[in-house]
């Protein structure tokens, strides 16, 4: 009796898992495949199978696959510029927020005073603020001071918005590094800062890489801030894709957006492929320790 019920349970759990995996990855595979078709196939009025075999694509371009969408997006619509802006923004945000975050997180982990705890609670409350409510506080001052629209302004804003999370992650990571390590260096005559530089920095990279991944995701995935704080020339990829959608009336433009979407997804795939372990450990660090 027990054996048959566990067999059914196994079968059920595998079916459930397969269903979940299909739901999780088919949308991406479908869009990736479809991005090489023309619009008439991707949104097929006649038959959904057209999107698989590219019937209209063959008629319109002479081949079952076309890179028209990619050419249109990257060259004609200047998506390369948006990609470049995204690269600048994400690299700067990750570097700056890790620099500030390691210093702050280290101090919070070693302080031992009550106010360190209050700073963490304040950071948690700041983490809860919907980003767009903060943006509505920036716009008017930024217009008045002439800071609006520049990449550098957006970078600093993203760094600041990222700080609460970075502080929490790195604080809990530094707690896991034994205190004796840097304190013995200080007994040997190092100042706190020298101890940090010579003892802590060499061992902190696993935690920093994990935190960096999440800073990267925040900067890369952001729409609310980049859409409202950047001028059209300075747009990063996500607001650029949103602006493609505004002009979908023209034939072919939807495929530009599809191609741009696939292009913007690619780096994220690579990221998960290489850093899966760090992402998993990062997500759990806060939970298991907190």
């Amino acid at each position: 009796m027990n054996k048959t019920s566990s067999k059914w349970l196994n079968l059920f759990s595998i079916c459930f898992l397969v269903l979940w995996l299909v739901l999780a990855c088919v949308p991406f595979l479908w869009t990736f495949w479809g991005s090489f078709k023309v619009q008439a196939d991707f949104f097929s009025k006649q038959d959904w199978q057209n999107a698989l075999f590219g019937v209209r694509t063959l008629v319109e371009t002479g081949s079952s696959f076309t890179s028209d969408g990619y050419q249109g997006a990257w060259i004609q619509e200047g998506f390369w510029k948006a990609a470049l802006n995204t690269a600048i923004v994400t690299v700067s945000v990750v570097t700056i927020s890790l620099t500030l975050g390691t210093l702050g997180g280290y101090a919070l982990a070693r302080s031992g005073f009550r106010y360190a705890f209050w700073i963490l609670i304040a950071a948690l409350i700041f983490r809860a603020m919907p980003h767009i409510t903060l943006v509505s506080g920036y716009l008017l001052p930024f217009f008045e001071l002439g800071l609006w629209g520049h990449l550098s302004t957006t970078i600093i804003v993203l760094v600041a918005i990222n700080q609460p999370f970075t502080l929490w992650m790195l604080h809990s990571f530094f707690l896991s590094i034994p205190k004796d390590l840097d304190e013995s260096a200080m007994v040997d005559g190092c100042t706190r800062f020298q101890a940090f530089r010579h003892v802590i920095i060499p061992v902190m990279w696993p935690g920093v890489i994990t935190t960096g991944l999440f800073s990267f995701l925040l900067a890369y995935n952001d729409f609310a801030i980049t859409a409202l704080l950047l001028t059209e020339e300075n747009q990063t990829m996500v607001p650029k894709i949103a602006s493609f959608l505004g002009s979908t009336q023209e034939q072919g433009n939807v495929m530009f957006a599809v191609a741009a979407v696939v292009s913007a997804t690619a780096p994220l795939f690579v990221l998960v492929m290489f850093f899966q372990r760090q992402i998993v450990s990062g997500l759990t660090a806060g939970a298991v320790k907190g």
């Binding site: 898992l17 479908w30 948690l124 919907p130 800062f193 995935n221 994220l268 998960v272 492929m273 899966q276």
Partner: protein, 345 residues
């Protein structure tokens, strides 16, 4: 660590948070009490070949001078909070007096922009959060039973919906759900209704957004629970097994209590993230049937004619922040009470 060393380490980070998170909250508080200047009107006599006429014109220079002199606009007190686009007190009392029954009254109230957005935001938050926790828990249990060679690839695929940019993820699903996309055309065949369109029906739009939300957030709960499952004490499980507990009883009485703290953590993060739901509404182009508080703020800056409604956006922001605080107070108080000893030690 002495105070001054601590300060030296923390000041860049603290300064960034003060200037770009704490100050903006103060700035929107002030902004929400002001509204834009009215345009300065002048009456000029316009004399042509057919006699003179008095024409009212906008005095552009005077208007600009006024807004340069006082960029915040003019003081409005709580006027913005109570107007039709926000708390709409007078509209509500009117509807209450005119309403023949409660149903009509609720319908009227939910037609007001703020309450429409609030109702969707709350529905989304309180449907998605528990569903994410349950789905994530089920996936974690199933993955945990897999042979270890399958675990890596399964986790890889499961992470995808979470790391995807929210706007992009919703676009990908939107294109499939489109009446001419793959899921849309399947639904037409299944329901045998060629005019079926998910976009046209408010109920279906809500369901679509909620399904998207669950799809996007479930991996987070899954990963956290999966890690939690690795730390379930083996001895307790084994003794439960020896005592004759079935697999269900083991899960119910050993695993679930062990994972309870994680449920609090996931709900905290999920409530924060779901309450700010915004990108899916842009991605699914769903604003006709579903709006959220964050979307209202965005809309104030994108209201077509180029004028940005700072006062209105600020008032909605303040109301949103009040909403977040009400939502999170119970959990933060709980976390605080339970984490007190840890911090002292």
């Amino acid at each position: 660590m002495p105070h001054h060393t601590f300060f030296k380490f923390i000041w860049p980070s603290a300064l960034a948070m003060l200037v770009f998170i704490a100050l903006p909250i103060i700035s929107i508080t002030i902004q929400s009490f002001y509204i834009d200047h009215e345009q300065v009107l002048v009456t000029v006599e316009n004399c042509g070949p057919f006699g003179c006429k008095e024409v009212t014109k906008v005095d552009v220079d005077a208007t600009r001078a006024l807004s340069e002199q006082n960029p915040l606009g003019k003081f409005n007190g709580f006027g913005t909070y109570t107007n039709r686009n926000h708390l709409a007190f007078s509209q509500i009392s009117e509807a209450w007096n005119a309403a023949p029954n409660l149903r009509y009254f609720i319908g009227e109230v939910l037609n007001l922009p703020f309450y429409k957005a609030l109702s969707f935001t709350l529905t989304y938050t309180f449907v998605v959060t528990p569903c994410v926790i349950i789905l994530g828990f089920c996936i974690a249990l199933c993955v945990n039973r897999l042979p270890s060679i399958f675990k890596g690839p399964t986790i890889f695929v499961s992470l995808l919906p979470m790391i995807i940019t929210p706007l992009i993820g919703s676009l990908v699903l939107f294109w499939m759900i489109d009446a001419e996309g793959i899921i849309g055309s399947f639904l037409k065949i299944i329901f045998d209704d060629p005019s079926l369109s998910l976009k046209a029906s408010p109920t279906l739009t809500w369901i679509m957004l909620i399904v998207y939300g669950i799809w996007h957030h479930a991996p987070f709960a899954f990963v956290v629970f999966y890690a939690g499952l690795q730390t379930v004490p083996k001895d307790t499980l084994e003794s439960a097994m020896i005592d004759g507990a079935s697999r269900w009883e083991q899960t119910r009485y050993v695993v679930v209590p062990h994972l309870m703290p994680l449920v609090v953590f996931i709900s905290l993060i999920q409530l924060m993230d779901n309450f700010r739901v915004f990108e899916p509404i842009v991605g699914f182009n769903a604003q006709a049937s579903a709006t959220s508080l964050s979307w209202l703020i965005y809309n104030d800056f994108r209201s077509g004619d180029g004028a940005m409604l700072f006062g209105s956006a600020a008032a909605t922001s303040i109301l949103t922040i009040i909403g977040v605080s009400i939502l999170l107070t119970p959990i933060i108080v709980r976390t605080w009470q339970s984490s007190k000893p840890a911090v002292r030690g």
